[in-house]
Amino acid sequence: MEILYFIQESGEKMIYQALSQNTILLNESAIDWGEAAKKAGGLLLDNQSIKKEYIADMIASVHEFGPYIVIAPGIALFHARPEGNVNEICLSLLTLEKPIEFGAGDKDPVDLLFALGAVDHDSHLQLMAELMKILKDGQLVERIRTATDVKKVLEMIKKKLEE
């Protein structure tokens, strides 16, 4: 399937609708990546953005394709095929007090994790573009990693996207 490449330059940023006090957990603990997936996915479940099956699917995806969801050193993006288990485009953010291993070589250990829910192949494109803009700013990523105040993280993200 081909993708129509179109990003709205104006208007409300999609990431503001996704990330909120309810979908960010900072400085948490998780014993392994499976528990981290349950915590990051749990935020989306509590928000009624996904059904619980989606969390199991995100975990199964890592088993199926390996640790390629570790997209950059220390950063993982959990996601799975929607299969009718995603109610709306959604994203959660989880940081860990103690980093965990994915078996991702020198991209391990990971302490900044996202869970993404998409409803189709490309309607979350704008959200991904906004997320990429954040992740490509190394200094900002470092500040998010060590942050303990959700409100401050939301402010940092807003400031970056309005640059």
Binding site: M1, E2, I3, G66, Y68, K107, D120
Partner: protein
């Protein structure tokens, strides 16, 4: 020229890679069609080049298309260097 960016499911990291590749090609004035696909669909496709996360190397084994593997998907420099290096060598 046709480039496919690949990930496990076709809408996560492949989409991130497509956005970066589109930006690089636009900046360099290179015309190419870039599509994001899942690993399964990529196997049955023809294209000039596949770009994917290095962790998908084994999933793409046996696909007879030139491939560029990316280590850090948020690193524009790595992606640009590898893509332009490949295109220059092809010329």
């Amino acid at each position: 020229m046709e480039i496919i960016t690949v990930c496990g499911m076709g809408f996560g990291t492949s989409l991130m890679l497509k956005m970066t590749v589109d930006d690089i090609l636009a900046k360099e004035g290179i015309k190419a069609e870039v599509s994001a696909l899942d690993a399964g669909s990529a196997k049955g496709r023809t294209a000039d080049l596949i770009m994917a996360s290095a962790d998908l190397e084994s999933a793409l084994e046996g696909v007879e298309i030139d491939k560029i593997y990316i280590h850090n998907l948020t690193d524009d420099d790595e992606i640009e260097k590898k893509l332009l290096g490949y295109l220059n060598q092809k010329e």
